[in-house]
Symmetry: D2
Subunit: 358 residues, 4 copies
């Protein structure tokens, strides 16, 4: 599409999400990795020496040899950075890049709930990017920060979007079984997870109870008004490498029948339905009627990890309907989702920033 | 207590639940294993040869050498049999024993919802044993069948009982993460569970939605009237050996505060509170305030596997309150629970049947 | 290459190895799946209904709808069948196909040690296919059986071949840690493998001690004389999905230095070095100097699962040298290896059988 | 035995080995925990607050409330300390205690190969404690350091001892599959171990190749002369919680038959055969003839974790004989083994040091 690929940097390039960014961007048609940035510990080493690579499949030789640099805007022109930083670092580093007119697409939680920062799932709320000019104006900069939701939020919100558009979702009770890759690397000790599960993930339940409301929120003159939706989340960590699984019970407006609901997923027309974006899967949400699916091992890679799989729709005696949702947490739920946001920015003409703008 | 131990048999003695019966009964002060019964495949072998033992710890030498016999009442006097049979066999074999005046304490689902058959958790509804005379009368026999609930039902119902006694529980949404031992042996393939989870367990959700209502039901002249409680269950199998974990959201009558609810668990006076029974744990339900507990590996053996652990009580935006519950599924949730029922029968004088009665 | 793809059938198409055959052949440039054959239980169903698919990634729609037929040569012309049958079935079914002039490339153990049947790893002993005319003559048929070695044998033999060509390998002591997929589906119970390992695999050690000697054997006028090599094998099953890992200690002729040995792997010129075969990986054996590699999760997919990875070469105080070997057991070690054999048969002009020959 | 229990301290009390010391000592008849010592991070907290307890089963209330103190000899009389320190700390802290006349039984590698320090498995080389007076003399102190071997060494050496006494073991090739608890807590990331194995454990192979030679060494006037035994070790980490499994191939002097070898294990008379020591299992080594045993999950707890299980004795085409060995790595292989050493010191009258000696 764009004649010349955009020059991108990765913040937190050696971490778990950073590695996924590298794996997905190393052969991306629109983006070219120009800078790999990480903490002091890694600076000065080549990426190959600095990273404890834990994905199957090789790193491109050119990247293996690329020197890791500090997380600082200096050091050569970049059209965009992707951030997989820890939240404690992101809070100061991401604005630094934006202030230097380098747009940031962030997978970190730090600015997700900031009213000036769009929290975007391209299929669901592409329109929320409209608040970027306000962010640029208020912050007196051409750069900006766009955020990607929490991995579980993405799965839940994408699964609900087709129903919410059609019927309105009022109450949601979601119980997750989340993969260990969500805790990063090294993350959890094998001593904690072998023959075990942990019914608590720090900070996860509040995110899952608030982020979807912002994403489903309405663009009003003075910002985004959170959707009127009541969500309760229960989060558990289980010994699965990738793929967050969740049971969702919900109350819909109206009294739709089972076939009508499944038709929503089958016929889903998202905000990017007609766009041609490299990371966009053939289907963003897919309903399966196999009785014991979706399952992490079998379904997480559907649509190259970008498709959310839904199954087991049945009546819920308490809330109305219930179903099972699965999504790849480090592709759709993190790096892949963020790249899709960046592609949308390109398609909308927001990226690259106009020449002379920096 | 009883001068002479009761002579017990085990139906399905080589299976997963049968092995737990053997492990727990081989040194029981009141019961003595006199017969090990299994399917044709095992009959004629010694128990040591017939069983694929998968519990750590040894089998008593006397049992290793005991010949396995067919699942038939003939073959020597028994005061009681415990049944760990598959449901398809239990439906004919268990009544056969009862008809031969041998009481059956069954861990199988076959007769749980039969109105003449008590479905008992000793702490919760010891009084339901009162319907046994009706069963004996209707079936024209001195023998009888008493059943133990499903493993998940036991965990949920015990956790709710202290709250239900005090406040009344109206709505429950429970989402489980269940151990693989619940599927028996060989049960699930390692190919299905390694780096995976399965959000479906055949028949489990209906049991969990109906059994607690019978257990909490009221003894009326014409039988037990199910409690007015609405339950929705979502069941997932995870790669944990023992210990079912569940997130429970619930609506209570009244508007109790957090401390009041925790006090219910701390001060729980169950139906067997004052009884001295060998399998009864020091505490049937225990609340922990460690933020990431209960966990299967760390908490399943609490009270020698007979204590249900509850944690993480917090407000649920949708239903009112939510918490986490854990219980050992093959001890409290199967063999241990059934043995506790048998102990209650002894303590109440129902077992052994009066001499001359057979 | 061949103008028209060969028409192939798969014996045991619903099993673990059969599924790998389907996955690898559904987009193969030379072979086209024409028949899916399995046991009585599956006959009459579509493949989609008959198979319990346990690989990630989809089955081609055309195959999903293909009816499963019995394991019998009737039912339409085939140029070749791949067999993933259990040994007990293979012993009668495979000769039946050969007798009907349908060549069989078998992954089953039944005929591996038969002196008339080549046991082939294309890189190592392509020349052993020369005994096929003798097999055809002795058996009075145009069809034939060629076999693929045991999964562990393939890994070991490929790793040793470069050293054996250059120095001669005299003694080998190999200790394996093998993946559960090697036991098929359902294969092993999760109850047997969770938090456990089993230091015994039925029949595996004898295969690993004898098959490499036949593969390294010399073609003499009266058959293949096994190599003069003494092998001792110790086999363990561990909770890994795919990828057999092995520690190998060995005595080489001469007194090569470490660099010389590594150079053998780096410069390996196999029997198919100059051939262009679709399943052939860029490198059949690859040495890594990362200290804690190879590892199953990180290295099994190297070369699309067809590359054997070797690492940790160091002196062995007892036998001389030791190293670590890893190979994907169901791709290189089973279906992929068998397909490579079939490709070699095509390249050598042995397949398809000359027209009129059937 | 001793009228008054010895007052013991634990160095590194919050670590993985330290927790095992606490678990095993909290109800020990001869030893009473008087001090729990750990790094600065924990000092000042109660043990309950400082420790991330990862063993099932509770900590005694008295210990939960005990304040953690620094690793320093001041702070009240101790008869003995057990050390589970990291090697980097042990190298300075352990001598400090010995210099203050507090004997140290250490599970750390730091001083194992020191010629003045006994490296002891009570069953195998109780006599090596005779070099303690030399250590005391050379170091000018009444205190001393005694060490416990590496966890794998203990399993291997105990399994070989009965054969070495009778026949002499000349060559050993051992390949291990080791549990993750050996790496401590947090130790290995679950990302590294899930669906994976690592064929490398830093420092492990050299220990396993050298320590048994010292343990089997002969007490000569000028020290202990290592046994003339050639050992090669290959070490792999697998996803098992506890229990190191190993395949052992060996060359024995003479030409014993299979029954003779098994008889060595059955009739083993160790150095402590006639002693009554609380941690001593009924059998230190036990041979099983079940074909697929020993297995970590099923056999690690044999003899309360203190029995080494041997199985699968068969001929090795390369070295003569081979078998499988299993031992609980954090009980027999660490804390339990060290406690047994301390018990031997008491039984031999070496502990407590004579009054007035400090």
């Amino acid at each position: 599409m764009s004649v010349e690929p955009l020059r991108v940097g990765i913040l937190g390039a050696t971490g778990a999400v950073g590695q996924r960014f590298v794996a997905l961007l190393q052969s991306h048609p629109w983006f070219e990795i120009r800078r790999l940035m990480a903490s002091e510990r890694s600076v000065g080493k080549t990426y190959g020496d600095a990273v404890q690579w834990h994905l199957p499949g090789p790193i491109a030789p050119g990247l293996l040899e690329m020197p890791v640099t500090a997380c600082h805007p200096d050091g050569g022109v970049l059209d965009l950075v992707f951030s997989g930083l820890p939240a404690s670092d992101a809070v100061t580093i991401e604005p630094l890049f934006a202030d230097h007119d380098i747009p940031v697409v962030s997978n970190t939680r730090s600015f997700r709930m900031d009213p000036k920062v769009p929290l975007v799932i391209p299929e669901v709320n592409a329109g929320h990017l409209d608040i970027l000019p306000e962010q640029q104006a208020v912050c007196h900069r051409r750069g900006f920060i766009v955020t990607n939701p929490n991995c579980s939020t993405i799965a839940l919100t994408l699964a609900l979007d087709p129903l919410h558009r059609r019927f309105g979702v009022r109450k949601v009770l979601v119980s997750t079984a989340q993969a260990v890759s969500g805790a990063g690397y090294p993350g959890l000790s094998v001593m904690s997870m072998l023959d075990n599960a942990i019914p608590y993930i720090s900070g996860e339940e509040p995110k899952l109870e608030s982020e979807p409301r912002k994403i489903f929120g309405k663009r009003e003159p003075d910002g985004i008004v959170p959707a009127d939706m009541c969500i309760s989340a229960c989060c558990t960590r289980i010994a699965v490498r990738d793929g967050h699984l969740m049971h969702v019970s919900m109350t819909l407006d109206g009294r739709p029948g089972r076939d009508e609901i499944i038709a929503c997923w089958d016929d889903y027309r998202s905000d990017i339905h007609d766009m041609d974006l490299p990371m966009k899967p053939a289907r963003s949400v897919e309903y399966t009627d196999i009785p014991d699916r979706p399952q992490p091992y079998l379904d997480r890679d559907r649509g190259r990890g970008m498709t959310v799989t839904v199954g087991r729709l049945r009546e819920c005696p308490v809330l109305g309907w219930k179903c099972v949702v699965l999504s790849h947490n480090t592709i759709r739920g993190a790096a892949g989702g963020a790249i899709l946001v960046a592609e949308l920015l390109v398609r909308k003409g927001i990226l690259p920033l106009a020449p002379g703008s920096r």
